[in-house]
């Protein structure tokens, strides 16, 4: 089958991420999509250096500085708009739709402001506009709201949907520094832009919230009615007082259905109980908490920005559109994600071959030399120790509990070592083995 041809508009951070991920994971992505997805054209600008970067990076694609040419090219199936803003991007998206092309976009400002116009145009032409990347970067929250939770009457959504603000608030709390100090640091680290207004004044979050509210409640995009208050006036005192009272301050986007009255649509700093999972989302990460009447609360967490996380969402949309156009409806999404003739025969490893870390607890006689015996057995099996804890055992006055945390080791060696340790006369009964994972 012919590859699906994509024209990429814009070659900034996200555009170059889309190129890289699509190249790197081409095989895996085709096995899922049922068809190859190829970026045949890239539009970039000379002024910001992206044209030159695209020329250097995008071997095999036609790189040009005229995006308007791409949206009219009859060879192209999908236009991927990664320019941003609501002027040039709007014109190009509408023209791509007029030319019968599907559109994938990461542009939240465009959708929050011009979504109604764009979706109507797409509906008229029978094309799809996909925008998973517009909200919360790589987290598939649009799909969750639009498909995963479709049984529910959504009651409310509360989200940390601006990574810059969350990074600043997390750092202010950790270091006790002021907003101005942390903003400067965030700019130095690349977490905040030179003009941070959209991020720190809540406007970016309000764009994303507008889109989520439309999907959750079935209402048109109404960014003009959103309330947006940023984090610029927050002081370290308030962060500290909030903490003393058991709360964290997060910039939340909140939308809620108030029965018989209307929809709340608001972005502002918010105190939330420190015990909530979402209160513990730190740094530039995003998280969205959705309350449905049937499912209860569900939470979606991940990177809300950045080159490859955003590319992950853009390419998921490309795969969706590809699947839609390739298979018959029943096989649009393969049961096991990969096309049935593309399953892999890679073997399942037995537990003995697993590498992980271990917690070992042994009950031993409280006498000299025991630890030396144990650590020698571990060393013989190439198992190194990360931490060690000794406590009085609850039973037996001359016995103690020894707990050892190991570094990475292969299970069969650990089991062999444990058997030898259990055979020592100074060790009582069976040892306890629990595996450990860092999850990073």
């Amino acid at each position: 089958m012919k590859p699906l041809k994509v024209g990429l508009l814009g070659f900034g951070t996200v555009g170059s991420g889309v190129w890289n991920v699509l190249q790197r994971n081409q095989g895996e992505i085709s096995r899922r999509a049922g068809r190859e997805i190829v970026i045949t054209h890239v539009a970039a600008r000379a002024a910001d250096g992206s044209l030159e970067r695209a020329r250097a990076q995008c071997g095999g694609a036609t790189v040009l500085d005229d995006a308007a040419k791409i949206v009219r090219d009859p060879e192209i199936d999908i236009v991927c708009e990664l320019i941003g803003g609501t002027t040039v991007a709007r014109t190009l998206v509408l023209e791509a739709i007029a030319h019968g092309k599907h559109v994938v976009t990461a542009n939240k400002a465009l959708l929050a402001n011009c979504g109604t116009e764009i979706f109507a145009a797409a509906h008229g032409k029978g094309v799809a506009v996909a925008f998973e990347a517009a909200v919360a970067g790589g987290i598939p929250i649009i799909k969750a709201l639009r498909e995963g939770l479709s049984a529910n009457r959504i009651e409310w959504i509360a989200g940390i949907i601006n990574g810059t603000s969350n990074f600043i608030l997390s750092t202010m709390r950790e270091t006790g520094a002021s907003f101005a100090e942390v903003l400067k640091e965030a700019q130095r680290l690349g977490y905040a832009e030179a003009d941070p207004t959209f991020d720190v004044e809540g406007i970016d979050a309000a764009h994303k919230l507008t889109i989520m509210a439309a999907i959750a409640f079935g209402i048109p995009m109404q960014f003009d009615k959103a309330y947006a208050e940023g984090i610029t006036k927050l002081t370290r005192e308030d962060i500290r007082y909030a903490e003393e009272l058991g709360y964290r301050i997060k910039l939340l986007g909140i939308t809620r259905r108030v029965e018989g009255q209307g929809i709340e649509l608001r972005v502002h700093p918010t105190l939330i109980p420190e015990k909530r999972l979402i209160a513990n989302v730190e740094g530039a990460m995003n998280a969205v908490l959705v309350k449905g009447d049937a499912v209860g609360p569900t939470l979606y967490y991940g990177a809300g920005a950045g080159s490859e996380p955003t590319a992950s969402a853009v390419i998921a949309d490309l795969v969706d559109v590809t699947r839609m156009h390739t298979a018959d409806p029943e096989h649009r999404v393969p049961h096991l994600a990969f096309q049935p003739d593309q399953l892999s025969a890679i073997p399942i490893l037995p537990i003995s071959e697993v590498y992980t870390s271990y917690y070992l607890r042994l009950r031993v006689l409280d006498q000299p030399g025991v630890l030396a015996d144990i650590t020698r057995i571990l060393a013989d099996q190439v198992i190194s120790i990360e931490a060690f804890l000794q406590r009085e055992a609850t039973h037996g006055e001359d016995e103690v509990d020894i707990t050892i945390l190991t570094h990475l080791a292969i299970e069969k060696n650990v089991q062999a070592a444990l058997a030898k340790i259990e055979a020592l006369t100074s060790v009582r009964g069976k040892g306890v083995l629990i595996r450990m994972e860092g999850l990073l």
Copy 2:
């Protein structure tokens, strides 16, 4: 358009949840699906009382004790299998497929053991088998893995995917009680079954993990090669020692791609650093952490079992199948989740009409009567106080910071009160107002 007709097999906890949610949210669900979804037939058993319950509850549907009749009924479009197990359910699912019906199932044991056979049959007949409810209840994790993260090379998945075990481990840690004691309590509360083997021995989690691994890595179902170790041997000592070392013990299902070697597929108690979000998933809740090469770590959290959370996933599958068969491909999933002619005109509320709680901070002169003035103004605006904190201000020796947390109040009253408070001669400068949300 004619309604889509569903035959429900099994009327236990989940079956009755599906009926209830579909009734309650019929309007909203139809606006999303583009077509009415109606349960026309219900099969239940006299032996366990479900037949009688179905007859009492399912007005309008044909209730019968012969499931085999339903899977052959030419009137029925989708068969919803909620019986469980791998014997009767397998026969019925295969027969439904043979009769050209789509199948929606919540049956993880069936898929983990017989998935290959079932998907091949479905592929041959051109029908869909949807199974979002089979893993992690109401959390749309199948959709996230299969569609949302399709750009990624999945590196690993680690999930708390058995609510019973997580409830027991959470309670053991909180109360210091033994496994046997907490199991008894869990059985009394309905969190554990009379025969808890499948849950506490890790078998249920291994079923779910097998399904996730197949989707993540594009491999066939291989439950027979999964390693499953449960929580029955965990002692309170190990939970306490783990905590002293900075870890929590969770029953995790872990599947990981080991480059050039194979796939790990294992369920066992696992120490994880207490700072990880997933370490703080308590009670019967589920959470799945997925690491993709492009998106990085993403986490999905919610209720992993229960009548309505599971029904949420079952009905989402019904909506998916309905959308697939109703609209042209481009409009399968409407841009804003609801069909474009079904958007709502419900208004957006201005911030002045929002009800929430508030954090108010005021800098006041440290003199008698100030607090009385402030609390009187609040009371006049029907604002009641939940908590109060007084601290020495950082500037001004005769001034103090007063922080007040309010109960629910309407924003316009709070703003009015704040203006009056700021006008008091004993109050210095502007007050700080930050909104508060409990998020429950």
